[in-house]
């Protein structure tokens, strides 16, 4: 094993994107490490704290993975391409940091510790930093999925916890009551979960129509 490691192993941006798209765990891991290193080194925003930094990193990574899997950026003939099929003009790390910047603005909006950003000419249901063009898709089902995915990534922490515990970890209401002691009864959890689902549905409909 080499003691001296001059620089981390690198792949081309196209290899990273292709690997993530094919669900290759090694390439996923490599891209994760690349983005995290770049983020730690280059993304410094005042007053968000380490927790805020972790939240933004996490949501940026989710957004990047979503963008790759929904072919917002994709590889064709070995070349990395963006929207409209044009060659991608920046590096994957620069792209990632631009996502992180948008996520930071979203985070600031939810956690106002600095003066709120002035919103101008933002369509109903969106805030600054949303990439509206991302939701454009000829396939309506796919478009709805994209919007729903975006909304889920930006829902409140409580909704995120309830839905994750119920639908991913498949915990029953008794177990959820133990894990989320703010809820006093099973009915309260049921109602909260229903409201989360309803809010998500309304936001999708509101964006589409």
């Amino acid at each position: 094993m080499s003691i001296f490691r001059i620089s981390p192993k690198r792949y081309t941006d196209a290899e990273y994107v292709e690997g993530v798209y094919r669900n290759d765990p090694t390439m996923g891991h490599e891209l994760y490490n690349l983005c995290k290193r770049y983020y730690d080194k280059n993304f410094h925003k005042p007053n968000i704290g380490s927790e805020g930094g972790k939240d933004i990193l996490q949501s940026s990574l989710l957004a990047l993975w979503d963008n790759i899997r929904s072919k917002k950026l994709y590889v064709e003939d070995g070349l990395l391409k963006g929207k409209d099929g044009n060659p991608f003009t920046c590096s994957i790390t620069t792209y990632f940091i631009s996502i992180a910047h948008n996520q930071y603005l979203e985070w600031i909006r939810k956690n106002p510790i600095v003066p709120p950003i002035k919103l101008e000419k933002i369509p109903e249901g969106f805030s600054e930093g949303d990439d509206i063009e991302f939701f454009v898709d000829d396939d309506e089902t796919l478009r709805k999925r994209k919007i729903l995915s975006y909304r889920i990534n930006h829902m409140t922490k409580q909704c995120s916890k309830i839905l994750t515990l119920f639908y991913y970890e498949e915990k029953d209401y008794d177990e959820i009551m133990v894990l989320l002691p703010t809820f006093q009864s099973k009915d309260a959890i049921k109602t909260a979960k229903y409201k989360c689902l309803k809010r998500l549905r309304e936001s999708v409909i509101g964006t589409c129509y």
Binding site: I3, H29, L61, I152, L163, K190, T191, L197, K198
Partner: protein, 278 residues
């Protein structure tokens, strides 16, 4: 959306229905568009939430590995720095020692400086008073001896075997009886120091467990103490060989060749060469 639909939808999606119940529910969905739409929406949410949670789990795992790799990398850099410092120090000492050894009167009772001591040991290795006249040959043997005793000399195995033959034949004679006492005194001192270091390392472990110090500090101190112990043990080995305590020396060599340390390889070579010679 209706609250009263949500329970049955959840039971269906979480596979909590019997076969008959599932069929009945699917038939009802086919004839009720509102129920069908709510089912599809919940199914999409379930799918996306599961996918997202799996991604987050992966990210958490990768993050732990990333942080662990950072720590290991920092630790390796420290170890390599110690090696580099040690090698640099050895080169500097060697630069001073080589001319001093060349110029010294062999076998003379000097002022206890390192080159005098080495000269005496060199004379003892030869095992015969006649070789005191063979200055050049003895100097070469001293240099080669330094290699096996931790110096930066030639690694030629032939020379090493030859030295070991001398070790083997030796009856280490001291010119003065108090020289042997000096070495025995030094040996006791070394053993006391080693015990102190072991105690310090135990103390460090306790501090780490009680979270008095961080893992990083603990690892640095362990490295440093380990390095010091290795140095002391190597010196101890030299003294044991000079005092003709072969069993103790071989036991120590055996221990050193099994422990991860800076003298592991040398201890292993010397141990095997000694066994071969016997």
């Amino acid at each position: 959306m209706r609250l009263e639909f949500q329970d049955v939808i959840d039971r269906y999606l979480l596979n909590q229905m019997s076969e008959d119940e599932r069929m009945a529910f699917e038939e009802k969905c086919a004839s009720n568009s509102e129920l069908h739409e709510q089912l599809e929406h919940t199914r999409n949410v379930k799918c996306i939430v599961s996918d997202r949670s799996k991604m987050l789990e992966k990210f958490r795992q990768w993050d732990d590995e990333y942080e662990e790799e950072k720590k290991v990398s920092a630790h390796k850099k420290r170890v390599s720095l110690y090696w580099a410092s040690g090698a640099a120090a050895a080169v500097v000492v060697g630069c001073f020692l080589f001319p001093a050894v060349n110029n010294s009167e062999l076998g003379s009772m000097g002022n206890g400086s390192l080159n005098q001591e080495t000269a005496q040991l060199g004379g003892h290795v030869i095992g015969s008073n006649d070789t005191l006249n063979r200055t050049e040959e003895t100097t070469n043997r001293l240099l080669a001896k330094n290699d096996i005793m931790g110096g930066e000399g030639n690694n030629d195995s032939q020379i090493r075997e030859e030295q070991l033959l001398y070790f083997g034949k030796d009856t280490i004679k001291t010119h003065k009886s108090d020289r042997k006492e000096e070495l025995e005194e030094e040996l006791k001192g070394i053993e006391t120091e080693i015990n102190k270091i072991s105690e310090k390392m135990r103390g460090l472990r306790q501090q780490l467990n009680s979270e008095g110090i961080s893992q990083e500090v603990y690892m640095s101190m362990v490295d440093l103490f380990g390095y010091q112990k290795d140095e002391l043990n190597w010196r101890r080995l030299q003294i044991l060989l000079n005092l003709n305590q072969r069993n103790e020396a071989m036991a120590l060599l055996d221990k050193m060749r099994h422990n991860e340390g800076q003298y592991k390889t040398k201890a292993d070579s010397l141990y095997k060469a000694t066994l071969n010679h016997e």
